[in-house]
Symmetry: C2
Subunit: 202 residues, 2 copies
Amino acid sequence: MSLAYHVSLQLPDWLQPFVEAQPETTFATRESRMRFVIELSRQNVLHQSGGPFAAAVFERDSGRLIAPAVNIVVPGHTSVAHAESMAFMLAQQRLETFDLGASHLPPMELFASSQPCIQCFGNTWWSGVQALTIGSRGDDVESITGFKEGPLPPDWVHLLENRPAPLRPITVIRDLLRDEARDVLKLYRDTGGFVYNAGSAS
Amino acid sequence: MSLAYHVSLQLPDWLQPFVEAQPETTFATRESRMRFVIELSRQNVLHQSGGPFAAAVFERDSGRLIAPAVNIVVPGHTSVAHAESMAFMLAQQRLETFDLGASHLPPMELFASSQPCIQCFGNTWWSGVQALTIGSRGDDVESITGFKEGPLPPDWVHLLENRPAPLRPITVIRDLLRDEARDVLKLYRDTGGFVYNAGSAS
């Protein structure tokens, strides 16, 4: 097999029609944004198209949807393809900038159905979003599904909210619709979802 | 502009002919692997096609090249597209697995011209590689170029080498051809390379 020079990452086929069936793609309230993201994660479980995680980038103030995403690690053959990194990549490529905090853009926020793992923490750090809102906690993910968070610094919220200048702070909001987000993790567990943790001795 | 459901990441045009011009794509010695990676980083500076960083996945024992990559953050409009994550994604998609540590594969190793930042640390954690060899240190990157490492845990080497079961340890080798790797960082600085740190107030 020859060397590759191109990476292709495709969201599941059900996702575009699902988004286009929404009454609108501007979500005025914070709860409505999180409810949409949690529903994406639930659909990803029901379609068996990846891990039980979803995320989306929104304009922070208007609630306009910029990029919805789900975890496609296993079907996409890509350990980087967590929901959060997919949302960042899709948003940045759509807006044609590596920096969602660029001065010509309105402030951007990531909503994620679950707390970031160590990889998503790093992705968030360089994404340019100015806020991160999450549903379920890392403890929920680990205790319900068996997915691991990796060595996330214990003070990860403080680190994001107090980034050294000239980096802007990233505000963290936790536990928004946490129970609903936990229900999707339980659904994944109860329907026999595959729990991978790459790099395990198998 | 409509929503996007697909991510496309393309290495620079010069890279494929550069790789195909190599006498062979199996690099027997560790020094030859690092020399190849550092030369990729130098070419990326000379072609002004991204940051001064390169990485490649090799079969650890044979030295067979699996996936070469460079940083394409700015031209690719993707903050995730550091050299390390590009190499992981290319290797995994080529081998059709999210886990480079899968039991049907020989052990894999990442060679990177520089120490991982917080994002690449997380990418490495879930990649499945069993070893990581780097050229220049984080201090070199920050002091020479101004690129930041982010909140990499101070004990990051210990964390990789002592991952909790069932995760395999990731052996870390530092300072291989460090001076040569530093020279590329200096070249980037001295030729006016753009130093971005996404999420800065600008």
